[in-house]
């Protein structure tokens, strides 16, 4: 099952999907680092992942 994570930084509506938690964590951390000059912890990313039953697992941003 694919998973989805969406950014809640003020003014940011970036979201990403990937095959699983292991695949999505580095994508999210890259976004937070490059766009917001900050960091997001692995457990915090995993804690708010949404399951996407029929979602594509491309790793691309929405």
């Amino acid at each position: 099952m694919a998973v989805r994570w969406s950014c809640v930084e003020a003014g940011c509506d970036w979201a990403v999907m990937a095959a699983d938690a292991d695949a999505i964590v580095p994508l999210v951390q890259a976004h937070i680092g490059e766009i917001h000059s900050s960091f997001e912890l692995e457990d915090m990313i995993e804690a708010v992942l949404e399951d996407v039953p029929d979602g594509r697992a491309s790793g691309a941003a929405d």
Binding site: C7, V8, E9, A10, H36, S37, S38, F39, L41, E42, D43, M44, E46, A47, V48
Partner: protein, 318 residues
């Protein structure tokens, strides 16, 4: 003669528990154990000698509060263990055993860093560098700043301990949500996150203190588990009784001034981007609410982001 149910009550493991999120956090904590003894403070001690007195003062203001804070959170965790026992949640007890050990280790890290790098350790040596938050002034008079770490945690911890000893299940659960909201969601999960980042940013900007930077990253790895344990536990209890959501908002409301004001370290450490740390507090607040399955307070978010609300939490405010 013991009944089958009495005998079965002596055993806590189940396949459902092993597959659950809290037990998986326990397993991860065991896999990720690190030791302060493995860290080398030599380069940090040399860097301390070469930075300016202003930089020393700014950095020490942050690290001394961490030294006190890590001791406080180690000391204040017992009520959660008592509650996990009273609620018969053995997976919570197992995870909390790693949580307590890790908080003690974080206190050890800061004790060793101050001893080996700055040369201070005893209470009379470190206390003069402690930034006291009670003197904060909000010029608009709208917000009160209180010491959430050293005031709220003991207060809500005592309530939780009392409920765990003599309260009903609902009283324990509500007290747990209040304590966890203060400890994991507010202090660890929102208020402290910019402080970690300020130290990491400052050490990168100064190209100094590699072991302080490494220690902060190791501590953050642990804190990510602690925070999401607390918010997951709150989510479980709030799903069981949605009225507990109000207990979370009560905590954030009571200490609103602390999260709305700027972190004192932003001003104490020269050369940092002040706006970044307000914005990231909003991200962390929204994420903690997402983790707990509750609705964020939109007014609180507006106040954190309001550029006209710019008083600084700490002695240099006003």
């Amino acid at each position: 003669m013991s009944s089958v149910a009495e005998i079965e009550s002596k055993f806590h493991f189940s396949r459902e528990m092993l597959a659950g999120p809290i037990y998986r956090k326990y397993e991860k904590a065991i896999r990720k154990v690190w030791s302060v003894e493995d860290l080398d403070f030599t380069k940090d001690a040399l860097d301390w000698q070469r930075i300016t007195p202003e930089q020393q003062k700014g950095l020490l203001g942050v690290t001394i509060r961490f030294l006190a804070g890590e001791q406080a959170v180690t000391d204040e965790l017992v009520p959660m263990l008592a509650a996990a026992h009273a609620l018969r949640r053995f997976d919570w007890t197992m995870f909390l055993s790693t949580f307590l050990m890790e908080e003690a280790k974080h206190a050890e890290f800061f004790m060793r860093w101050h001893e080996k790098v700055v040369g201070v350790l005893d209470p009379d040596e470190v206390a003069p560098h402690f930034l006291v938050r009670g003197k904060t002034i909000d010029p608009s008079g709208r917000f009160e700043v209180r010491d959430v770490m050293h005031e709220a945690l003991p207060h809500y911890g005592s309530r939780l301990l009392e409920a765990s000893v003599s309260g009903s299940e609902a009283e324990i659960e509500r007290a747990f949500v209040q304590f966890s909201a203060a400890y994991n969601a507010f202090v660890e999960g929102v208020l402290t996150m910019p402080s970690y980042e300020i130290v990491i940013d400052a050490t990168a900007q100064w190209d100094a203190f590699p072991t302080l930077n490494q220690g902060f990253k190791l501590i953050l790895m642990d804190e990510g588990r602690h925070i999401t344990f607390g918010t997951e536990a709150c989510r479980i209890l709030i799903e069981k009784n949605p009225e507990y959501e109000e207990a979370v908002h009560e905590i954030f409301d009571a200490y609103r001034g602390n999260v709305v004001g700027l972190v004192e370290y932003q001003k104490a450490v020269p050369g940092l981007d002040l706006g970044k740390y307000q914005t990231m507090k909003v991200r962390h607040y929204r994420n903690r609410c997402r983790e707990m399955g509750i609705t964020p307070d939109a007014t609180l978010i507006d106040q954190i982001l309001d550029p006209t609300i710019d008083f600084v939490v700490g002695v240099e405010a006003g």
